[in-house]
Symmetry: C2
Subunit: 426 residues, 2 copies
């Protein structure tokens, strides 16, 4: 871990090695796959699944029997935990529901906003080693709370043509409507454009590797997508009274995700900074199952920033705009207004990040790599859309139409002016 004394105006992007270099070779491969799926449909899906996932599929859609079999294979205790987490996630996201509203700003006028769910949504779930049933819950439940009618999950099969049973169990508990055994750019293409078997969706959400992310960016416009996820990050703001054991453990829970994951401590106490570094390496030397990944993340992307006071800590944190922000300080809730950019805010010593990853209820799909400057946790709002409502009666329009006509003519739009004027010609 690198210790840095913070100064205003530092080039944080360079220090944190954040960059946005495009990989043109990957884009070209992805475009080829998208073209293939648009043209050949299911045949292309089977071809790419064989070529890239080394699996010869007999059918694309996961059957009810396969789901039941998976469900039976998951320990009952774990199913109960998944169910309880699902309930917490549903409770929180129900608070995000929005409803249609109208109002009457003046007699004869009604204005408002009509709220409707997106009809059909695709949910990408990564396969391979990183199989996260928690992500199935986090991405699916808000969609179902929003009222999405068709929620379609795609996830790449193993070489044996099977899907991780816990993923299928979580999908069943969440209430996913259809599941297909496809992954990669080909799955994104199938969701965006449809095939003989898979009906095209209106929006694609969920994390994935660089091929999936590139494909999502390519189909954006044809369908909506959620924010493209980068490596995960946590930023802990800690004062001199923070517990270095907790801080180190929380940094490591981030670090074990990915060699590119970024664990950052921002502290007013250089002494605590040193304690946390010692503790991080002590905990790594214990029996962490993913210690190689965690060590590489900590070595390459771990940072301790020393700041002069908490105001400076929040200033720095707002510039970094972390995915996860932990406040290991006294009375953290009092500092809420100082937080400008963060995916999720974990308050105090007993709110470690894994609590939010699995269980508390708020979403764990959060803006990464500084995108918290302009985006939000995945939520019910991502699955809803709005239509404006306008209603004027004759008298209301009559009292303003010459102004509308004048405004339209100043823009050179004669037919716009005439459309209101013709209402009052006779």
């Amino acid at each position: 871990m690198k210790t840095i004394t913070y100064k205003q105006g530092m080039d944080l992007d360079t220090i944190l090695k954040r960059n946005d270099d495009e990989r043109e070779d990957i884009r070209n491969a992805v475009l080829e796959i998208i073209k293939g799926v648009k043209k050949e449909g299911n045949a292309a899906l089977l071809y790419y699944t064989q070529a890239l996932d080394h699996c010869v599929l007999t059918h694309l859609q996961v059957t009810e029997a396969e789901i039941d079999e998976a469900f039976a294979a998951v320990p009952a205790e774990l199913l109960d935990i998944i169910r309880e987490a699902a309930e917490n996630i549903r409770d929180f996201h129900e608070k995000q529901l929005e409803t249609t509203w109208t109002y009457t700003p003046q007699p004869g006028v009604i204005l408002g906003q009509h709220i409707t769910p997106i009809e059909r949504v695709g949910l990408y779930v990564p396969g391979g080693k990183a199989t996260y049933p928690s992500t199935v819950l986090m991405d699916a439940i808000p969609a179902l709370v929003a009222g999405v009618k068709s929620l379609v999950m795609v996830t790449p099969p193993g070489r044996d043509g099977k899907i991780n049973p816990t993923i299928l169990a979580a999908a069943k508990i969440a209430g996913v409507h259809e599941i297909y055994k496809i992954g990669g750019a080909q799955a994104v293409a199938a969701l965006a454009y449809g095939t003989e078997t898979i009906k095209a969706v209106n929006k694609i959400v969920g994390p994935g590797n660089i091929y999936v992310a590139t494909a999502k960016k390519e189909v954006f416009g044809k369908v909506d997508i959620d924010m493209i996820a980068g490596p995960s990050e946590v930023l802990i703001i800690a004062d001199e009274n923070a517990n270095p054991v907790y801080a180190a453990a929380d940094l490591l829970s981030q670090a074990e995700h990915d060699e590119l994951a970024m664990p950052i401590l921002v502290t007013t106490s250089a002494e605590l900074g040193n304690q946390v570094i010692d503790e991080v390496y002590r905990q790594i030397s214990e029996d962490l199952s993913r210690k190689e990944i965690a060590k590489k993340s900590v070595d390459d992307y771990g940072f301790i920033f020393i700041v002069k006071d908490l105001d400076e800590a929040f200033e720095l944190s707002n510039q970094i705009a972390p995915e996860h922000l932990e406040l290991l300080i006294e009375h953290p809730m009092d500092s809420l207004e100082k937080v400008k950019n963060a995916g999720a805010i974990f308050m105090g010593a007993y709110t470690p990040e894994p609590l939010g990853d699995y269980f508390a209820g708020p979403n764990h799909t959060l803006p990464t790599s500084g995108t918290a400057k302009f985006s939000s946790p995945l939520g019910v709002y991502d699955y809803l859309k709005k239509s404006s409502i306008l209603s004027y009666d004759q008298a209301a329009l009559q009292s303003v139409y010459p102004k509308i006509a004048a405004f339209a003519r100043c823009e050179g739009l004669d037919a716009h002016a005439k459309a209101v004027e013709r209402r009052f010609e006779d």
Copy 2:
């Protein structure tokens, strides 16, 4: 205009000539420009403005003196209309404001959602013949209602280095903070990456030509963008009692925008359909100032769909997902729940589309080309973001931490499990 009898399952994308072909040549030109601006900053902006806008700029930022001069050049009457429209737009959008909330699902637990504005936003305003001060109001005011601290407008200069005065006046009335005389892909690149003079923004909104749209898609991820706008469209649902003169006038107000604009009538009455066609061509033959554009739009992209009843009309409309939906039917508000996909809904004979374009208050920046299936009018929500709030006390975490640890271990994330367990080791 082409008259079509609607049948369920028709291939509407083909009939409406909707396609999403990419122009690889345009993308390559745009990538070159973005690379230039990233590398050369202001020098690249001056170079491209000379090469593409045929203007040798002496300074990038519009001065206070230039704004005052423009303001003085706009007729007082028009300024008053712009001010009144701005007030209506502000009133409507204030209804969209969201505030931070928290709740306590159980003792010792606080969950919630913290709302903050995006700090710095770039607003693209097209130049050339289509100068729309109304778009300045529509894009800027929701940002300022949301609390955006730095709202930065860019718009290409004329060959004389000047900006249309009405555009500058609208920007002043709306309250835009900075204005730069740049356009095209180079302006999008400057907003996304910054230059010596222009500080990078967090989000870019506003319409533009294919170069602007392509550049927005390329910088998406580095910054957020609003939906990429396609040609404008109106769909009018009319019953047999609708006034064909109004319907035709409203179709033409759409058609005059662009040769690719799409005016669609959906009616239960073949007779009304014929009357509207006659009336459209009669009105074109009158003195519309943009009659060539309107005629080309109507000829190539004008459609009359005959449906058997209003339910079928709404079914068709929901599939097309029009930017503007007009309901020229009895008691239109009673049909609100039938509308699933539409940008804005105009209710009844005295709510023509231009009322919404200029004056009523709801936004005129709306999802085009069927994107109303997954996106919304531009609104205050586009300039706000959310951070989840989580707070557990010791007892609350203690009661659930073994479940969190078990869930984490089922995902193979040992350090996640340890992060909660270490809190209760001693």
